[in-house]
Every structure is written in C-alpha cells, then in structure tokens.
C-alpha cells in the first residue's frame, strides 16, 4: 500500500496513520523515487497542492512520472484511492469517471462556486449500490461518513451529457448529506451534489472531502466525542471517517472482514 507524495502534498502523514490504523502495511513514496512504486499493489493519493496546483489542480501531477505506475495499476484492476488533491489528480488523469481517453478528463473538480478555498465539516453518503464500488468492500447501502471538505477546487463540473452519464452509470459514488443522511446542497456547488467519483470497474475512487481528518474520536465535534469523555482509550480510538479506510482495507484483503 503506497501513499504517494508529490511536491506540495500536505496530508500524507495523517493518511498513512489512517491506513495503518486499519491494519494495512503502508509506506510513503516520494516523487524522487517513482521506481519504488512497482512493489505496491494499492495506492492512495493524499491531499495537498501537488506542484502547487500549477496550471490547474492536479494537472501537473497527472502527467508526472510518479503517476504512470498508478495508471497502469488502475487499468489492471488494482485499487486506487484519491482524496482531495488526490481526487483532482485522478480526474485530470482521466481515471475517474474514466469515460474518456487517459489524461483527457471528461469531468473535473473545478473551482468552488464561491471562488474560494473553504474548510467545512460535512457528511457524505454512499450514492451507489455497494456492489458498484468494490474498492469499499462491505460498505452498507447508504452508508454515511463524516469528513472535512477543505478545498478550493471541489465542484464537480462536466458537460451536461457527461453529467447525465455520471448519474446514469453510477459514477457519482458519494453525495453530500447531513449527519442523518438527508441530502444537502454541496458546499462547493458541485453538480449532482457529488462528493466522490468512481470509475466503471469500481476500483478507482476519487473523494473530495477528507475522511482521515475526522478519523479518531477526538476529531469529532459532536455527541460521539462527548460519549467518550473520560475514557482515554475510546477518545484515541479510530472511528468516524476511519470507516472508509476499513472498507478499503477489506477490499485489499479480498473482501474478508478484519
């Protein structure tokens, strides 16, 4: 399990912590050593501003040498998860929704409707059937996961016919919702209120909000943290956003629960 680090990536450590918390054997792989990637069988592209988001978010990284082995692996059916900037890179690489040629994106995470970076706490809800998304093995229908939407460019945008296809063919993996799973408008103005895109085979997932930033009980600013008050172990335990990583780990174990 490799967590990729491009120049400008800033969420690699907490992503690696989440990966290890669900029992995966993960390592950081830096841009200066792309040859190391060959030995890994799954990949996470974490958040940040790869190559300073020069030209467009994710655009330069999508053409970087570090991404070549990831594209190959994705096409071979291996699991690839992109979070925030990682999601933008996967869209620029054409891996999600994956409806066009490589590196000719058909959909984009474009600048937020507000025109600004925003950091807001959100919940996202699984918007496709669980079997549509093997990268999250064992996820329940309509599962709700807490996360932080912290981005400037997270608005799903695509031509109308492409948006129809995304909706029809189940490429919109998660939508924004409230804590009870009721739909809410996307904070960034995303089309379809979409928070995540998945490819056709369901092995590549690009999610804008950060589940790894709300992945321990002490991260939760709601009643679930209050319930752990006074219980040090419970407070330091993984919970909430960690569930996304648990399903990812289960997928890597061939669908076997931990």
């Amino acid at each position: 399990m490799a967590v990729l680090v491009f120049p400008g990536t800033n969420s690699e450590d907490e992503t690696l912590r989440a990966v290890r918390a669900v029992g995966l054997d993960g390592a950081l792989v830096h841009w200066s050593s792309p040859e190391v990637l060959a030995q890994f069988d799954a990949f996470i592209l974490p958040g940040g501003f790869a190559y300073e988001d020069r030209v467009r978010s994710g655009a330069v990284a999508a053409h970087d040498a570090l991404i070549d082995p990831v594209i190959e692996a994705a096409q071979a059916g291996k699991f690839v998860l992109g979070i925030c900037n990682g999601a933008q890179i996967l869209a620029e690489a054409g891996l999600v929704p994956g409806t066009g040629p490589l590196r000719h994106p058909t959909a984009a995470f474009a600048p937020n409707a507000s025109g600004r970076f925003q950091s807001v706490h959100v919940h996202v809800k699984l918007a496709v059937a669980p079997e549509r998304i093997p990268i999250l093995a064992g996820i329940a229908p309509g599962a709700v996961i807490p996360a932080w939407a912290s981005h400037g460019d997270g608005r799903l945008a695509a031509p109308t016919d492409e948006l129809e296809r995304i909706e029809r063919d189940g490429h919109c993996a998660f939508v924004y919702c409230d804590r009870d799973g009721n739909p809410v408008p996307a904070p960034n103005g995303a089309a379809l209120d979409c928070a995540a895109l998945v490819n056709r085979a369901g092995n590549v997932l690009a999610i804008m909000p950060h589940p790894e930033r709300d992945a321990w009980t002490f991260n939760h600013n709601d009643a679930s943290r209050d319930a752990a008050r006074g219980d040090t172990q419970a407070m330091l335990a993984p919970s909430g956003g960690i569930r996304l990583f648990e399903h990812f780990a289960r997928a890597l174990r061939g669908g076997v629960p931990a």
């Binding site: 400008g8 800033n10 600004r116 925003q118 950091s119 912290s150 321990w216 006074g230 040090t232 330091l236």
Partner: protein, 779 residues
C-alpha cells in the same frame, strides 16, 4: 581629531546616500569602532542589526520585567522561539515550541503577500528549533470596514494567510479579529506558531561548541532583490507617498517551496538524531544571510567567513550588500560538521529536489565557522565585511523618555451613574440589546474568516475554530497529550488603559485555555505600539509591559517568547490603539477530559463565575454610548480560584461546556454556547439573578475575567456548589438549558412566573452570523 571628524562625516554621508535608517550618532559609533569608513555591506548589516526590529533597542530594558522562568519552561526567551513542557509519553518529554511575530507594515502595503509572508516567517522560527510545525493562530486588527481601503486590506490579509497556511499544511487553529479606526492606516497582522519537539531533540540557533571549521550551509530560495531593507522598513513610519517604494521591501513568499523545505528539514532532523550530531539551525529573517549567520556564530562565541558568490541568486550581478542583507523568503541556515554536509545537501537537493521545485532553490555551502569572533564576508575574493561579531550583534540600547498614561479609574458614583444609564437605554428589551451586541463587529461570528483557513490538515485537530475559546490539537499520534492555544488583547481596552489592557489580555488568553480543560504552561506576547520616540507612546508601551508582568506574575505563567512592533503610526500622525496581544499555550494531560464551549444537552444548569460589575469599554457600553471610563478590575485571587474550579469540575465530570467571559459579556457567552455547530439544537431559559439585581439587563453584558459553565444536572450542581465553596467563590446561576429552540427570559427561576421575553435561537444566530458573512461571503 580632524581625521575622526572626516571619518564620521564620510560615514554619515555614505549612510545618507545608501538610505539607511541609522541615526548619525549610531553611524558615528560604527565609524569610530571600525576606525574606517564602513563598506556599503557593513553599513546595511548594522542598519538591520541595530534596527528596532532586530535589536529591541527601545524595548529591551523594559522587557526584562516579564517573568520568564518556571518549571514548565524547557527553553526560555533568547532564541527564535521558546519551548514549554507538554508532557511525557513513552519515556520521552515532549515540548511545544511557541513563537509570535508581527507582519504589520508589510501587510498594510501589500496585504496579501505581507500576511502570507508573516506565516512563512513564523513557521521558520519554529522549524529551526528542530520541531515539526503543528499549528498557527492569527490575531488580526483591521480598520473600519466602512473604509474602502480597509475593506481591501481586511479581505487580502485573510486571503494571504489562507493561501500560505493552507499550502504548507499547517492547521490554523485559532485567532481573533478586532476592528477599530486606529487600524485604518496601520493594520496589525500577528501570528503565533506552535511546534512539537522532543526535549532531547531541540536544535539551537547557535554554532555548537568547538565548531570552528564546520560548514555554513544556506538552504532555500534563490536570493533576489525582494525584501532588501526589510528590517529598517518595518521600523519606519508608514507614509502614503512612499507606499510604492516600500513595496520593494516586502518579500515574495513561496509556500509551495516552504512545504517542501519543511519536509526535507524533518528528514534532516531524523538523520541528525540517527547520527547523534549536534548542529546549529536558524531561519533567515530580518538582516538576511549576514544577520542570520552572524547571530548563529555570535551565539556560539564563534566567528564566520562567508563567500557571497557561493550564494545561489535569482538575478545575475546582485551587489554583495543585497546578497548579504536582502531578506528573500524561504531560506534557512545550517551549521554542520563537514562529514555531515554531503548527507544534508543530498536530502535537500536530491531527495527533495529543491532545484526542481523552484528555479535556483538549493542547499549550498557558503562559508565556514571560525574561532575568530569576527564576521568576514567576501565577494569574489574582495572583503566586503569584516566586523567584530559582538559589536555587530550586541546591539544598542536606548532609554527612551516616556510618560506613563494615567490609569483609568472609575468611582462608585461613576459606576452607579453608568448602570442607571444602561438600564434606561433604548431599546430596553434584553433580546433586542443582545441582537445588537451579537452583531457588533467585535462579537459577531468569525466563521466566514476561519472557514477560509484549513484548520484540520495533519488530522490532529480536536477542537477547530468555532467550537471553543481555544483551539486544541492532539499532536503526538497515539498519546493522550493535547495542546491548547488561546489569545487575548482588546484594542478598546488598550485605548483607555494600556496597562490594564495588558493585564486583561493575559487573563483572557489564560481563561481561554482553562475553558477547554488545559493547564496554562506558557505565554507569548506581541506588543504593537506607536512611535517610541513620542513619550506618550513609549509610556503606553512601558505601562503595557508592566501590566503583562503584573498579570503573568500573579497567575504564575511565564513568558517564553515574544515580539515588539513599534512605529505603528501613519504619516497623518495616527497611532494604533496600544495593542499588547497575548497568546497562551495550555497543556492537556488527558485529551478525554477536554471540552468545548457549546451546550451539550437540555436540563443543565448555566452558571457564571466571577462576573464583573463594570461596563467599562465593553461592547455594550460602546453600543449604548455609555460614559464608562474604567476597565474591568481583576481580582487575581478570585480569578485563580475560578480557574481551579473549572479545572476540578472538568476533572470531576461536573461540567459539560465552558466559555470565558469576553466581548459580549455573560449573555454574549451564553448565546455563543447555544450556537453549537454540532447538530444539536438547545434552548436556554434565563433567570433574573434571584432578586439580587446582579443580572438586570444591562449588567449581563458587562465584560471581565470569568467563565460561564454548563453544569450537568442536580447532583452535579450540588457537587459544583460545594467545590465553589471550597474555593471561596460564589457562583451565579444564570439559567438552564432546554429542549426548545428559544432563548427565554423568566423573572426568576420559578416555572410559574410570567415569561418576560423570548426569541428564537435562529434569529439570534442570524444576527451573529450576518455581519462578516455579508462582508467575507458565505462559506
């Protein structure tokens, strides 16, 4: 005699031609010390080192009064940042690095880059202690938003902070914002930064003992002309006509490069630890390369020989004085044994490929440490600097004349008069008053600002902005240790009584970390004042330092770092409101014991501790135009007991939520506790202070040291009252939380009494959120 006179005249003439800010007397001292006319490079070096910014020449004498020692101090004042003890975990002692800086002048001239550069600079101060940078917090003081230029500055400063902090991946976990006309022409942009370091891994900003012959390595961005003259610029009065010219003195930040330099430096720290090597590390700030390397070597009692042509430059033919003194951003300086140099260079240049990240960026050996005690710089073999290090960095001192401000006093008669006026003021409706207070510029929601900042990157944030008075991080993965950071400093107070304002700033900062369940372990200050050559302004500064010393001394929390920003004065003669701004770091031994400042459930009691009866300089006094002349008094003993009550009540599971009482008073705090952003809707019923009159409508808005608490239930309330009794503090019951969605004011606690007033929480919330949301935009 004649020769000396010529020497001095020639030096002064050179200084004037070069445009340095040194006084004639200062130049005379330099010329006489050197026994010759200094070179341009030397004169610029002295200009920077002897500037107010570097030398604290007006302030140092007074800063000695601050308490700086205590059992929580791992590294006290003296280096780029102080370090306080966080706690122990797995046999290791962890420290929190605390630094505080201002970037006021640059932010007035080029607000976006000025503010961004402020973050960049403070982050280097923390990094060079060998620490991981874990958080920043920004105290901001803007001018009136009715003023077009102030609007522009207020927008651009926030955007600049966001652009830099978000890119480097350091969470912004706190901050405060005040608006005042005294900042119309002089914005204040302060920043506090925190780092995490194990006690045994601290790296010092000095050439290690016996380091003669070691390499001096410059790391970072290619040196350019930007930021030349920055140190003396920040000590000059801003003149509108010079604004364009001044822009050249503001550096160009590159957060992307900084992101990579930070990570590469962490890799260097690991290598140093693995090899048991002691190195020296310092960031380049005011005074550029010469200032930084000179201070490094002077601190270790060593000397330096630097070859300026080895410095990577962005422009060809940069003159030696620009290479030596220019303040190009994103640069740091290492002192390492030559055996380690190849590893160091390889980490920056190959593994983290700095030259690919930004043109000309790299790590390069630029000189050697010597045992001579002199700073020698050559440019293509020509000596452009050869000075005694002690003389260069020892700085100079001024004893500025000052006139202390008269402390604001309020007689009992004054208080009664103000109280009567408050009661009579229209609207008399409590909740109409509350809406006005909540929509006041200094009280209203800051969400549309802090949501532009990334408060949760690194995944260690327990309490991001908006949930409590202080931000809380859990910085050591797997450990229950928490660190809280809170701020204090109110310009409305500063204008009335700088000394008392400073005391209240300390109290407010400490109260905010107490409120989240932390123990205050260290303070950091940024003292923003006007022109120190004006006795009244200098007097305000002196009074404020004395106030800080009084308060920190009384409460037993040491200062571990700080910064002084003087000359915050516009050419039209306006000085900023005396602004002592204080940050407090709190340590949390068990993160499961922390709490936020929002109501948790219905049926709890709402209680206030140590409320004041003075309206002085409160938001309400301003709105109601009360002639309140004093500031809230501080009874340190009662405040200390109140802090102990909060801590013990949290440890004993008696309280669910805590706020400190600040702008907006008790009722402002209660309203904010009801605005929880966590999916709960909780209402409030207020009592009318059991007939004592203490909580009649006006007084609910009086500000001062104290807390509002949500106490669990009847059993907890009994235990809480016992606890208060033990500490000799009498708590005031304000009301109860309810299942409703309204704030209701009953005549007294009996359910049978007639309801007096009622308002929906949503309506209050709208009043609170609207002002800055309308300005900064909905997030």
């Amino acid at each position: 005699m004649h020769r000396t006179a010529t020497l001095v005249d020639d030096t002064v003439a050179l200084g004037r031609r070069l445009g340095v800010a040194l006084s004639a007397e200062e130049m005379q001292r330099i010329a006489e010390h050197l026994g010759r006319v200094p070179t341009a490079t030397e004169l610029f070096a002295f200009d920077a080192q002897w500037s107010e910014h570097c030398s604290y020449k007006s302030s140092r004498e007074h800063l000695k009064k601050l308490p700086t020692e205590g059992p929580t101090v791992l590294l006290g004042v003296g280096e780029d940042a102080g370090i306080v003890r966080l706690g122990e975990w797995n046999g290791e002692t962890y420290g929190i690095v605390v630094a505080h800086e201002s970037h006021n002048h640059p932010s007035q001239v080029v607000p976006f880059e000025g503010a961004a550069t402020g973050i960049g600079g403070i982050v280097r101060d923390v990094l060079c202690m060998g620490a991981e940078v874990i958080g920043v917090a920004d105290p901001l003081r803007f001018g009136r938003l009715e003023n077009e230029h102030c609007r522009y500055v207020a927008q651009s400063v926030v955007d600049g902070i966001a652009a830099y902090g978000n890119a480097i991946g350091v969470p912004n976990v706190g901050g405060d914002v005040f608006f005042d006309e005294s900042f119309d022409e002089n914005v204040l942009v302060n920043v506090v930064a925190l780092g995490l370091v194990k006690a045994q891994d601290i790296i010092h900003s000095r050439a290690p003992q016996g380091s003669a012959g070691w390499d001096i390595v410059l790391v970072g961005k290619a040196t350019d002309r930007s930021g030349f003259g920055g140190a003396s610029f920040s000590s000059l009065t801003l003149n509108e006509d010079d604004a364009d010219q001044n822009k050249g003195a503001v550096q160009v930040p590159d957060p992307f490069l900084k992101n990579v330099i930070m990570r590469a430096s962490y890799a260097v720290f690991a290598e140093l630890r693995a090899n048991g090597i002691t190195a020296g590390f310092k960031d380049l700030g005011a005074g550029g390369l010469a200032g930084c390397s000179a201070e490094l070597c002077a601190a270790g009692g060593m000397g330096a020989e630097v070859e300026l042509e080895r410095v990577s430059t962005a422009q060809r033919d940069l003159p030696p004085e620009v290479i030596a003194i220019g303040e190009t951003q994103e640069r740091l300086c290492w002192i390492v044994p030559p055996s380690f140099t190849p590893t160091l260079l390889s980490i920056y240049n190959d593994m983290y490929s700095l030259p690919r990240i930004a043109r000309g960026a790299c790590a390069a050996v630029i000189g050697k440490v010597t045992g001579s005690g002199r700073y020698v710089a050559r440019h293509h073999g020509e000596t452009v600097m050869d000075v005694d290090l002690e003389f260069l960095t020892g700085g100079i001192r001024y004893e500025r004349p000052y006139v202390l401000p008269a402390p604001a006093e309020e007689s009992d008669a004054d208080r009664e008069r103000v109280s009567a006026a408050a009661l009579a003021w229209n609207p008399t409706s409590l909740f109409e008053r509350l809406k006005l207070v909540l929509s006041h510029r200094d009280v209203c929601s800051r969400a549309s600002i802090y949501r532009r900042y990334d408060g949760v990157v690194r995944g260690c944030t327990a309490i991001p902005p908006g949930f409590a008075d202080a931000g809380v991080l859990v910085p050591v993965p797997g450990a229950p240790l928490g660190v809280a950071v809170g701020l204090g400093g109110n310009p409305r107070y500063g204008k009335i009584d700088p000394g008392r304002a400073a005391e209240l700033a300390v109290v407010e900062a400490i109260a905010s970390v107490i409120a989240v369940g932390a123990t205050p372990v260290g303070l950091t200050d940024c003292l923003n004042f006007g022109d120190p050559t004006i006795p009244d302004q200098m007097g305000a500064f002196v009074a404020a330092v004395e106030g800080l010393a009084t308060s920190a001394g009384a409460l037993g929390v040491p200062f571990v770092s700080g910064n002084v920003s003087l000359y915050n004065r516009s050419s039209s003669g306006n000085h900023v409101a005396p602004s002592p701004i204080v940050g407090c770091v709190g340590a949390i031994a068990d993160i499961s014991r922390t709490t936020t400042g929002t109501f948790k459930r219905a049926g709890s009691w709402i209680v206030a501790l140590t409320t004041t009866d003075s309206f002085g300089a409160s938001v309400f006094a301003e709105i109601a135009k009360l002639d309140a002349r004093g500031l809230p008094g501080i009874d340190y003993e009662t405040f200390k007991e109140s802090c102990a009550i909060v801590q013990e009540a949290l440890a004993g599971d008696l309280v669910l939520a805590v706020r400190d009482i600040s702008d907006g008073g008790v009722l402002g705090a209660v309203a904010e506790m009801a605005f929880g952003d966590d999916g709960r809707t909780i209402g409030v019923e207020l009592f009318d202070g059991f007939g004592t009159g203490k909580f009649e409508s006006g007084r609910l808005f009086a500000e001062g040291a104290g807390f509002v608490l949500e106490v669990g239930g009847h059993a907890e309330m009994d235990a809480f009252f016992l606890l208060c009794e033990e500490h000799g503090v009498y708590p005031d019951q304000i009301g109860m939380t309810t299942n409703g969605e309204r704030l209701v004011y009953r005549h007294n606690e009996s359910q049978n009494c007639d309801e007096i007033e009622s308002i929906s929480i949503a309506e209050l919330r709208e009043a609170w959120e609207a002002p800055l949301r309308d300005f900064y935009g909905r997030q």
